[in-house]
């Protein structure tokens, strides 16, 4: 079981990330249709996000949200909010957080913004595709190339 884990499961996420990236890259280079190229771009993007999120995973860890015991509601600042007695009792009672038991939040933050930015850039790309369709009446790369007037040779 240990051998199986180390050779297969431990790297499987990375293999799939490489495969998805290859699929997306090939589609972006070789596909003829502009929308298909953008589908390839989406797949490429999720492959990168998959890589990042896979790096942040910890074995037997929980999600990066602290429980009620660790952060009592209004624990810190309400005790200090009443001026006069600065009661740090709530601080001392809080359990220690072991960083090993909580999933790494940094890749999540980076990728969360990347997804939303990704959809807005996809919107820009689709707008350009529509503009191309308005001008050339087609989304196929070869048909567009045939319609572009060549400079001196044409």
């Amino acid at each position: 079981m240990d051998f199986f884990y180390q050779t297969f499961i431990a790297k499987f996420n990375y293999w799939i990330y490489v495969i998805l990236m290859m699929i997306g890259l090939f589609a972006m280079i070789a596909k003829n249709n502009l929308i298909k190229k953008l589908v390839g771009m989406c797949i490429f993007q999720t492959a990168i996000i998959l890589f990042y999120v896979s790096i942040g995973v910890k074995q037997d860890a929980r999600i990066p949200i602290l429980t009620k015991d660790e952060v009592p509601h209004g624990g810190h600042y309400t005790t200090e909010h009443h001026d006069g007695h600065k009661d740090h009792k709530a601080d001392q009672e809080r359990p220690y957080i072991d960083a090993k038991t909580i999933t790494n939040p940094i890749p999540h933050v980076l990728m969360l913004t990347a997804i939303v930015v990704g959809v807005s850039t996809l919107g820009v790309a689709l707008a350009i595709a529509q503009k191309v369709h308005l001008h050339y009446g087609s989304l196929e790369e070869d048909e567009i190339l045939a319609k572009i007037p060549l400079g001196n040779d044409g």
Binding site: I9, L20, G40, I43, D60
Partner: protein, 81 residues
């Protein structure tokens, strides 16, 4: 993290990616890309990235699919490859 679940979803991901790129109908391609987004959303929930999963469910499977379908309706539906 549950590795068996993880592996099943990853294999499905590759299958849906290939289908989304080989289907000739662009509307079907967009819909399959939506399925791909849902699968990857499940994958992230399983890996403990709940915020990313939530964003992907709202963005990838919702808005992204809709704007893609809007473009397909405004341009051409058939693709040559």
């Amino acid at each position: 993290m549950i590795w068996s679940f993880d592996i099943i979803i990853l294999i499905f991901l590759v299958i849906t990616a290939v289908i989304a790129l080989t289907v000739k109908d662009l509307l079907a391609s967009s819909m399959v890309l939506g399925i791909y987004s849902f699968l990857i959303c499940i994958l992230w929930a399983e890996m403990g990235a709940v915020d990313v999963a939530f964003t992907e469910a709202a963005v990838g499977a919702g808005v992204s699919t809709v704007i893609m379908i809007a473009t397909v309706f405004q341009t051409a539906r058939k693709s040559k490859d």
